[in-house]
């Protein structure tokens, strides 16, 4: 790969693509400096990213348990309206963020430590969780798992908030092991039950949305958990889980496949996992190693999911879409941020090649092209029918496939149609 292709790969896989001029600047900096700026923006003079929800009204519903049906209905509608504004604010932020890796990691953690507004309802809680994912994006994993375990949105989503010592609820205790840290086959049903007991006692305050520990709701009996004794609270659960031999391979493998593609060499993943374990689950070092492996040519084909694909399209074209168009398009595509389909998050891979997603990509591509300014480099290249320049501006310095070039020739002369087909093409459906 040329350095330009390598850097474009980095900006696609560990970020949300590139704005006009961003690739040129990164190529001028070089591969090493680009990785440094991605992984350690504070140490390399990158501007701080603003809070995506700065100025967005996320107030919790101000109604009590005795409210009338009408008041409850109005409160639900109010929260739904605020939720859509919260989703929109996040998407807008992803398009413009000066720290793409941090926000890409927040997006990754959102799809890993999953909570969804279908159940959480209050966007304030989910936004607080996403703020945690942003601030701990590259923090050591135990710190992140600790924060997630007593996170208000998570306490609602996986029912920790209603789990008590006398009658523990297993939902979070199970998914913590199966989906978040160890994977199936590395724990028993007794571990699920013991973990659920040790994690009881947490609630979410109605008025503030804060997590609160209530000792009388907690079962402090020391539990036998994952082979360890004396596990009886959130700290000892997190310490035990993250010290388990299956934790580093599980999380490192998932992150490596997300960035390097599902076909990544298993020996490479083993090496990454071993180093991750010996570093004390230093996620920043892991991500750096993954990016260096990718820059050394170890990346494999991966499917572009709808949100990263759309954000990259907007980042390259500068298009601003009406909220209704963008959310309807993402809903048809099957991926609306903050509304994951279930606790496992969004699927990876070729399920994104279904008919609905393909049609939605086409529809959204047309909307992006319709809202792209004439002066934007993508539009200029489309107007001049300079396909190499167009591919480069869309983050593909190696150009389009012959079939896409032929297809684009069919609409030559109509710059918006050229841009639409380029964005909707199979070339951009993989990354």
């Amino acid at each position: 790969m040329t350095d330009r292709a390598t850097i474009a790969w980095l900006l696609r896989r560990a970020g949300f693509g590139m704005a006009p001029g961003e690739l040129d600047q990164a190529v001028a900096d070089g591969v090493t400096a680009t990785i440094d700026r991605l992984v350690d923006p504070d140490g390399h003079g990158v501007a701080p990213a603003p809070d995506p929800w700065d100025g967005v009204d996320l107030a919790l519903p101000g109604i009590g348990p005795g409210a009338s049906a009408q008041a409850r209905r109005a409160a639900r509608q109010d929260q739904r309206d605020k939720a859509l504004q919260a989703v929109e604010a996040w998407l807008d932020h992803l398009v413009t963020t000066p720290r793409p890796l941090h926000d890409w990691m927040a997006w990754f953690w959102h799809g890993h430590f999953v909570s969804g507004l279908d159940k959480v309802k209050a966007p304030f809680l989910l936004v607080q969780q996403l703020r945690t994912f942003r601030s701990l994006a590259l923090a050591p994993l135990p710190q992140l798992v600790r924060a997630v375990t007593a996170d208000p949105a998570m306490l609602v989503y996986l029912d920790g908030a209603t789990s008590t010592g006398t009658e523990p609820n297993e939902n979070y205790g199970r998914e913590l092991l199966e989906l978040f840290t160890l994977g199936l086959g590395n724990y028993t049903e007794d571990d699920v039950k013991a973990g659920a007991r040790a994690l009881t006692g947490w609630t979410v305050e109605r008025g503030t949305g804060a997590a609160r520990f209530v000792a009388r709701r907690h079962d402090a009996t020391p539990q036998h958990y994952l082979g360890a004794d004396g596990v009886q609270d959130v700290d000892s659960v997190v310490a035990t889980v993250t010290a388990h031999r299956a934790c580093a391979p599980f999380v490192a493998g998932k992150l490596a496949r997300a960035i390097l593609g599902p076909g990544v060499d298993s020996g490479l993943v083993d090496d990454l996992a071993r180093d991750y374990a010996s570093s004390g689950l230093d996620t920043r070092a892991l991500v750096r190693a993954i990016l260096e492996a990718g820059a050394a040519g170890h990346g494999t084909e991966a499917v572009s999911q709808p949100v990263p694909w759309l954000v990259a399209a907007q980042r390259a074209t500068g298009a601003v879409l009406p909220a209704r168009v963008r959310l309807a398009g993402l809903r048809s595509a099957g991926q609306v941020p903050m509304y994951p389909p279930n606790v496992a998050g969004w699927p990876s891979g070729t399920s994104w090649f279904g008919a609905s997603t393909t049609v939605a990509r086409f529809d959204l591509a047309g909307a992006v092209a319709a809202h792209t300014a004439d002066a934007n480099p993508c539009m200029a290249a489309a107007r001049a029918f300079d396909l190499d320049a167009l591919a480069d501006a869309l983050g593909r310095p190696d150009g389009f496939t012959p079939s896409t070039r032929t297809a684009l020739a069919e609409v030559r002369g109509d710059a918006r149609a050229v841009l639409t087909i380029a964005l909707a093409s199979p070339d951009l459906a993989v990354t």
């Binding site: 279908d118 029912d159 209603t162 789990s163 008590t164 006398t166 009658e167 523990p168 609820n169 297993e170 939902n171 199970r174 199966e178 989906l179 199936l184 049903e189 084909e301 991966a302 499917v303 309807a328 809903r331 048809s332 595509a333 099957g334 389909p341 279930n342 606790v343 496992a344 070729t350 399920s351 090649f353 279904g354 008919a355 609905s356 997603t357 393909t358 049609v359 939605a360 086409f362 529809d363 047309g366 909307a367 092209a369 319709a370 496939t401 012959p402 079939s403 896409t404 297809a407 069919e410 609409v411 109509d414 918006r416 149609a417 639409t420 087909i421 909707a424 199979p426 459906a429 993989v430």
Partner: protein, 411 residues
């Protein structure tokens, strides 16, 4: 140059639908196979996936005091249950009252204690087993995908198998065939910006798919363009009468099952050669505050199924349609402290339609729990075998030898 419509084998005109579209597909894409007209008499299977793990004990409720011991707050009062004529051991959740006419017509088969012998209580492990019908994970394909491969019906017509609502597509995973996944039929259409030439734009989109490349994912992305465009041509015109969720969900009449089944009825009525339709609905993972949620979910299921067969009957299709419910597991027999139930094992499933042999095929026995759960005494492949025999073609050979030992279909 071939236009997209020629490429797709469709004649011109704005509203190419139904048999005309089918004949177009058939003419251009399966000439060597001989033009079998779309079977207006072919049997259709509709699978309704209740994701999250439907609570069997509060769906088909045993008339047994021990049930109330297990469920002191969540237990349904016996007097509120929907009685089933001729069946004194169970009653239905009150929300299932719309299913009574099917029961009385002998067209509702209820099968308790369904599952797989594996003891995983993981959603995803269980779903994987249900979709592949392969508890030992030896099969990479879905149980319906294997049927598609074996019959070769779907290799040229991606509308033979359609998944609505997303979620249950792995059941259709196959080695050769294509299925069409539509998240939301109501929004399923190519939208072209004002001032653009629709045909020119969609022709160019179709052209991105050929010539095919060799890279695996890119090649699959290319094929997705072709099959999506075919599906759009046939399906986009069906959306007019599909219930659309309003801005206010409180006011929206139809839940996901009812909306999916309304769309399914429309697809069946169009005679597109569709044989398998999956409708996916979620929300059954009721760990907390189950009562109100379950009421709403079962209401959606029962009203959806009831209107589905009413519509099919009015359009003369009911006799050829069998409906099967699936769900990855039942829930723990005892309620938890959150007014909900945790993951369990055996679940209850329904087969409905004139082809189903109505009745309760088993017992709901809370006196003999297995590790706090209803057992998975009936292998789910028994139900799958009934479903595949309904479709015709190979059955037990696709299901590791399992057969419909319960006789779930009328002879």
């Amino acid at each position: 140059m071939l236009t997209r419509r020629q490429f797709l084998g469709l004649s011109g005109g704005a509203a190419v639908t139904g048999a005309a579209a089918w004949m177009g597909l058939l003419r251009d894409h399966a000439p060597s196979r001989g033009p079998t007209p779309p079977g207006a008499d072919d049997h259709v299977l509709v699978v309704v996936q209740l994701s999250g793990g439907n609570d069997a004990l509060n769906t088909v409720v045993p008339l047994d005091g021990r049930y109330h011991d297990l469920r002191p707050t969540l237990g349904l009062d016996d007097s509120t249950l929907v009685p089933l004529a001729g069946e004194s051991t169970v009653g239905l959740h009150p929300a299932l009252a719309p299913l009574v006419p099917l029961w009385e017509a002998g067209q509702l088969a209820i099968v308790p204690d369904v599952g797989f012998a594996s003891d995983s209580r993981s959603h995803f492990e269980s779903l994987d087993v249900w979709w592949s019908a392969s508890p030992d994970h030896t099969e990479q394909t879905g149980w319906l995908g294997r049927w598609l491969d074996a019959t070769d019906l779907a290799s040229d017509n991606p509308l033979v198998a359609i998944a609505l609502g997303g979620g249950a597509v792995p059941a259709l995973r196959s080695t050769r065939s294509q299925a069409t996944a539509v998240n939301d039929l109501a929004g399923f259409d190519l939208k072209v910006p004002p001032g653009s030439d629709r045909d020119q734009l969609t022709d160019a989109f179709a052209a991105t798919a050929s010539p095919a490349v060799s890279e695996s994912l890119l090649a699959q992305a290319q094929r997705s363009v072709t099959s999506a465009l075919r599906a759009v041509d046939v399906l986009a015109s069906t959306q007019s009468n599909v219930p659309v969720e309003g801005d206010d969900p409180d006011a929206a009449a139809a839940g996901p099952v009812a909306a999916g089944l309304a769309a399914a009825a429309k697809l069946i009525d169009l005679n597109l050669g569709t044989r398998v339709i999956l409708v996916a609905a979620g929300g059954f993972d009721t760990h907390a505050n189950q009562a109100a949620t379950h009421q709403r979910l079962l209401d959606d299921l029962a009203t959806g199924v009831s209107s589905f067969f009413t519509t099919l009957g009015q359009r003369g299709h009911a006799e050829r349609v069998l409906l099967l419910t699936t769900s990855e597991f039942g829930r723990r027999a005892a309620e938890n402290g959150s007014g909900g139930t945790d993951h369990g094992h055996g679940g209850v499933q329904f087969l409905a339609g004139p082809g189903a042999r109505g009745g309760l095929h088993g017992t709901v026995d809370v006196a003999h729990l297995a590790d706090g759960d209803l057992p998975a005494a009936v292998d789910a492949r028994t139900l799958y075998a009934a479903a595949l025999s309904w479709l015709g073609g190979p059955t037990s050979e696709l299901l590791a030898g399992h057969r419909d030992d319960l006789g779930l279909l009328t002879a």
